[in-house]
């Protein structure tokens, strides 16, 4: 089951809005979890029609992260991301991309994509959001 994660401004009714949006497109939600991380809502869901859901979320203005990337929470300060990157380097796990999703309240949420997702998750388990 493929997973989609949405990081957006924390607000009431967000999960209902997402569920409504996907329902309009005829997409069934298999699982849905939400947690608040430093003022942001991180919504993790699995659906029956993955690509259709990604397109619907994009069109609805919800920034969606695919399961190829993992989300971590780091302090928003110079060099913080570099400290995470060094873990992958020392473990010899090639990084495909490191992308800042959001910075707020002194913390950042970052999407990381590597060649070996499971091994990479082990390396940054202490920082992971929405496993």
């Amino acid at each position: 089951m493929k997973q989609i994660t949405i990081v957006t401004e924390s607000r009431r009714g967000l999960t209902a809005d997402i569920a409504g949006l996907l329902a309009e497109e005829g997409i069934n939600i298999e699982t849905l979890d939400a947690e608040e991380v430093e003022g942001a809502d991180v919504v993790t869901l699995t659906v029956d029609r993955y690509n259709r859901a990604l397109a619907a979320l994009r069109d609805g203005g919800y920034p969606a992260v695919t399961e190829d990337a993992m989300l971590v929470r780091i302090e928003d300060e110079p060099g913080a991301l570099a400290k995470v990157a060094v873990r992958f380097k020392e473990a010899d796990i090639p990084v495909r991309s490191i992308r800042i999703i959001r910075r707020r309240n002194g913390f950042g949420i970052v999407a990381i994509s590597t060649e070996r997702t499971e091994a990479a998750k082990e390396l940054v388990r202490d920082l992971l959001i929405a496993e």
């Binding site: 110079p78 570099a82 990157a85 060094v86 380097k89 990084v95 991309s97 490191i98 910075r103």
Partner: protein, 407 residues
Amino acid sequence: MLVTPYPLAPRGVFHYIVIQVNDSFLTEATSETVSLAPADRERLDRFYEHVVAQADTFVGYPCAGDFDYSELHRFLAFPLNNVGDPFDQCTYHLHTRAFEQEVLTWFAELMHAPDDEWWGYVTNGGTEGNLYGLYLARELYPEGMVYYSQDTHYSVSKNLRLLRMPHIMIRSRENGEIDYEDLRETLRIHRDVPPILFANIGTTMKEGHDDIGRFQAILRELAIPAHYIHCDAALCGMTLPFIPGAPVFDFRAGIDSLSISGHKFIGSPIPCGVVLARKAAVDRIARSIEYVGTLDTTITGSRNAIAPLYLWYAIRRWSREGFIARITTCLERADYTVQSFRQIGIEAWRNPHAITVVIPKPPTAVLEKWQIAVHEDCGHILVMPHITRAKIDELVADIVAARKEAA
């Protein structure tokens, strides 16, 4: 039905031979005998009215709207095409390569590219120029890592994915410029991997300028000799060179390639731009692709031949003095814009040498009328040459009215 182009084009009308295979006969149809249905004409007329109306509130995007290329309209009657390398010979004679070469030479001089050591072409816009720069970097440093700031245009992520280049996003400062400390620390960790630095010379939302001098200082400090620097100078490639005291970002600063848009500060009805790179680097990748039996150096094969005419016309018409006057006026009006917003209690600001005025996200009613780009909690006004003081006054009055309504 097969349609093949008929050789010459008398009176600017391009003829086609229409071969109707089913009926086994040949007939000749021209644009004089085949015309649009009245309903289609009406649709075009309605669309024209829509475009005229929308152009009146076009204040949030970096595209000048004060151009007049009517002298060039006659060339639209021909299938012009600058296929392939603009400096190569071509058997397709309906092209504007001589004009394209003049345009490129003008930009190369403006960007202080070393004589006879540069190469470039007229692109379909900034994204293609950035794609070319990144492609060149990847061919030179296949194992390289791309670093770019959080405020970089979204199309760069798309390009990196297309080219399958590993990349790390670096924090931005509040003004949109890259965070040099974050860059330094990240480079320090990956110093054994050639860095490909993607510099923004004018970020999309705040027109922040990355400092190439600081890039070079960090590379020297970390003793990283093998590196590549590409500049995305979509808007500011045509503003900063004409502003006294503006930061240097061009080939004098040791960059390897840059991309400038033609439809932004210059203004054009067709998206276009220019990419310039060091010739030695281009020659190296040209050699590397010989095995595929082509030395095609441009991203696309068929290329827009009208855009070089527009750019040539604009730079001949304005000249450097004209562009200096143009940017000076825009900077004065940008100052006026900041003051006008501040007078009504809105905290507007702009970066030094920038014509982008950043404001808090305007009320919905204002966004419904005015074309203003917003990102998270801020919006921006691009004080392009067609934005007059009267237009700013009208926008400010609408914001005041919307706030009163909301209160």
